[in-house]
C-alpha cells in the first residue's frame, strides 16, 4: 500500500508533515550530508533578527532527564546574510523554507519580513513571540494577547505569504494568546515553544546556565505539548496547527496529528541524531502502512474523545 504523506498547513501544501524546527537545523544548509532539507516537509530557519546577534554567554545548554535546557540567546547571522548567502541555495535545492522571525521591538519583526520578501524561495514566516519586548518593560510579546495581536497584525501587513505564530507554553492564557494571534491575522499556530526552566549545580550552589533560566525541550515536554495542541485545537478547530515538543518517533507524529496538528516540527531529536526527521518520516509511513492509513492527513484531529 502506498501512503500519501502530503498535508497542508492552511494554504501551504507540504510534501510530508515532518519539518525541522527553528534553532535545531541551522539555516537549512548545515546538515546537507546527513539530512537534505528538500526531503523534509519544510525547514524552519534559526530565528532571524534584522542585524546579527552574538547570543548569550556560556554555559548555554544543560542536559536534564529526557530533555535539555537551552539559553542560546537567539544568536544568528541576521536577515541580510541569510537572504544573501543561504536563501538562494535553499531555493535551488527545492526546499520549502519557513523563516523564523524575532525582534526586541515590533518594527524589528517587520524589518526581517520586509527583507525576506525581497529574497527568493521563502514559503512563509513563523514569529517567535517568546522574545522580551523592550518597549514594554521586557514582557514577552507572546504573554500578552493585546501585544501579540498588534504584533501579528503588523507582520500580516508586511506579507501575503503564510504567517505562523509560535506560541509560548509559558503564557498565562494559552487559548487567549492563540485567539489573539488569529485575530491579528495568523494563518497557523505553532505550538509549543520551550518551557521556561532552570537547572542548579548543588556543589557550586549556582544555576548551571550563565543566564540562570532557559527553555526546556525534548521528550520530557511531549505530554505537555500534546495537551496544549489538543486544547487549542478544541477551542479553535478551524485554525491549522503545527505541533512541536519532544517528537522522537513516527508514533509521536501520529499522536500530534490526532490531537489536531496538521504538521509537526522535530527539534531536539536532531541534536541526538541529525537524520532524525528522515527516520521519523520513515516510521510514520510504516505506521500508516501497518494501520491501513492511506492518507496521513486523514489522521489530523482524529482523536476519539471519551
Amino acid at each position: 500500500m502506498r501512503v500519501d504523506l502530503s498535508t497542508a498547513v492552511g494554504a501551504l501544501e507540504l510534501a510530508n508533515p515532518v519539518m525541522a524546527a527553528s534553532g535545531t537545523f541551522g539555516y537549512g544548509l548545515d546538515l546537507l550530508d546527513l539530512c537534505p532539507p528538500e526531503r523534509l516537509g519544510a525547514v524552519v530557519t534559526k530565528g532571524l533578527s534584522p542585524a546579527p546577534r552574538a547570543g548569550n554567554p556560556t554555559p548555554r545548554i544543560v542536559e536534564t532527564a529526557a530533555g535539555m535546557i537551552n539559553a542560546i540567546g537567539l544568536q544568528n547571522i541576521g536577515a541580510e546574510a541569510f537572504c544573501q548567502e543561504v536563501a538562494g541555495e535553499l531555493a535551488r535545492r527545492g526546499a520549502t523554507v519557513i523563516v523564523n522571525v524575532f525582534g526586541e521591538r515590533p518594527e524589528q519583526y517587520r524589518a526581517v519580513i520586509e527583507r525576506c520578501e525581497q529574497a527568493e524561495g521563502i514559503a512563509g514566516y513563523e514569529l517567535n513571540v517568546s522574545c522580551p519586548n523592550v518597549d514594554h518593560g521586557g514582557m514577552e510579546f507572546g504573554h500578552d494577547p493585546h501585544q501579540l495581536e498588534a504584533l501579528t497584525a503588523l507582520c500580516r501587513a508586511a506579507t501575503r505569504k503564510p504567517l505562523w505564530v509560535k506560541l509560548s507554553p509559558n503564557a498565562p492564557d494559552l487559548v487567549g494568546t492563540a485567539r489573539a494571534a488569529v485575530a491579528g491575522g495568523a494563518d497557523a499556530l505553532t505550538l509549543i515553544n520551550t518551557l521556561r526552566a532552570m537547572a542548579i549545580d548543588p556543589y557550586r550552589r549556582r544555576p548551571v546556565l550563565a543566564t540562570a533560566f532557559g527553555g526546556l525541550s525534548g521528550p520530557a515536554i511531549k505530554p505537555v505539548a500534546l495537551r496544549m495542541v489538543f486544547e487549542v485545537h478544541r477551542a479553535l478547530p478551524a485554525v491549522p496547527l503545527v505541533g512541536i515538543g519532544g517528537i522522537e518517533t513516527g508514533k509521536d507524529v501520529v499522536e500530534f496529528l490526532l490531537a489536531g496538528a496538521a504538521a509537526v516540527q522535530v527539534g531536539t531529536a536532531i541534536f541526538r541524531h541529525p537524520a532524525a526527521p528522515l527516520r521519523i518520516l520513515d516510521e510514520l509511513e510504516e505506521f500508516c502502512r501497518a494501520q491501513g492509513v492511506e492518507r496521513v492527513s486523514s489522521l489530523i484531529g482524529g482523536l476519539q474523545w471519551p
Partner: protein
C-alpha cells in the same frame, strides 16, 4: 576534509586505565579516518535518557580486519560515561565522526613540537604523538595528572616519544610520580632554560589551557589548544558550544574547533 558519517559502532573491547578512566575500541563497518584533535559524538544509552550523545576526542583509528577501529579514552564523570563503562561488549552504539578541526601537524615541523596533556585531555595528544612518531617528526611529550594512578597509557606515551628520540615528562599534582606540579610549569621551566619548540599542541582542563594560552602568547610560541565545551549536537546547529574569539565573534567550537590557536581566542585564554 574527511567526510563525517553517522554509523553504527560495536563496542569491541574495553580496558580499565585508572580508577576513573577506561579505553573503548569501537568497530564500524565503514572506514572512519580521523585526524588528531577531531572528535566523535557517541550515544551513551539506548533509550531517551540520557538524551544527548557525548563528544569524545578520538585517540586513534586503524583498520581492524574487514572493519574499522576507533579508539576512545573516557573518564567516568556522569550517567552517560557510567553507562559506557558498564555496557556489555557487543552493544551497538551510534557514532557520528570525524567532526571538527584537529591539530595542525604540518606547521612548524622543522622544529620539535611540544605535546601537552592534562588528565583526560590525553586522547588527542596521544593520537598526535603516535601520528608524529609514525612520520618521524620530533616532539617532546608532557603528560600531567592528579596522581600516579591517573597517569594514562604511560607505556604508549613512552614508546611514541622513544621512536623520535624526544623527552617524556610526567607530572603529578601530588608528586606521586614524575615531576611534582603542573605540566605547564614543567614546560615553562624548560623554556626558561633555553629549550625551544616550533609549536605547542595541548588538551586538558580549562585552567591548564588558559595558563598555557597566556604563557604561549607572552613567550611568542604558537599554541594550539583543544577546548572542551558543553555540546548537544557536535555539528554546529545547537550553538551550545560557542567559544568567544579575540575579535568578539562567538563560534561553534564543534565546527571551527575544537582546536584553536591561543592567539585567536578571547581574553579568558590570553595574558
Amino acid at each position: 576534509m574527511i567526510a563525517r558519517r553517522d554509523v553504527p559502532a560495536r563496542l569491541l573491547s574495553r580496558r580499565e586505565l585508572s580508577p576513573t578512566c577506561f579505553s573503548l575500541l569501537l568497530a564500524t563497518s565503514e572506514e572512519l579516518p580521523a585526524e588528531p584533535g577531531q572528535f566523535g559524538m557517541l550515544t551513551c544509552g539506548q533509550g531517551l535518557d540520557p538524551l544527548l550523545r557525548r563528544p569524545f576526542s578520538i585517540a586513534g583509528v586503524r583498520p581492524l580486519g574487514r572493519e574499522w577501529g576507533v579508539e576512545l579514552l573516557v573518564k567516568e564523570v556522569g550517567r552517560g560515561t557510567g553507562w559506557l563503562r558498564r555496557a556489555p561488549l557487543g552493544t551497538t552504539l551510534e557514532l557520528l565522526a570525524p567532526l571538527g578541526h584537529g591539530f595542525n601537524l604540518e606547521a612548524g615541523a622543522a622544529a620539535p613540537a611540544a605535546l601537552v596533556a592534562g588528565g583526560i585531555g590525553l586522547p588527542p595528544v596521544l593520537f598526535a604523538a603516535e601520528r608524529l612518531a609514525e612520520k618521524g617528526a620530533p616532539f617532546d611529550l608532557f603528560v600531567g595528572a592528579a596522581t600516579a594512578q591517573e597517569l594514562l597509557e604511560v607505556e604508549r606515551c613512552r614508546a611514541a616519544v622513544a621512536a623520535v628520540g624526544g623527552e617524556l615528562v610526567l607530572c603529578t599534582d601530588d608528586g606521586s610520580m614524575g615531576e611534582p606540579g603542573f605540566v605547564t610549569a614543567a614546560l615553562a621551566r624548560r623554556f626558561a632554560a633555553g629549550q625551544r619548540w616550533g609549536r605547542v599542541l595541548a588538551c586538558g582542563p580549562d585552567p591548564m589551557l588558559q595558563a598555557l594560552g597566556r604563557w604561549s602568547i607572552t613567550e611568542g610560541v604558537v599554541a594550539e589548544l583543544s577546548l572542551e565545551e558543553p555540546m548537544a549536537c557536535g555539528v554546529g546547529v545547537c550553538l551550545g558550544c560557542v567559544v568567544e574569539l579575540a575579535d568578539g565573534r562567538r563560534v561553534a567550537s564543534c565546527k571551527e574547533g575544537p582546536v584553536f590557536e591561543a592567539s585567536r581566542l578571547a581574553a579568558r585564554w590570553r595574558p
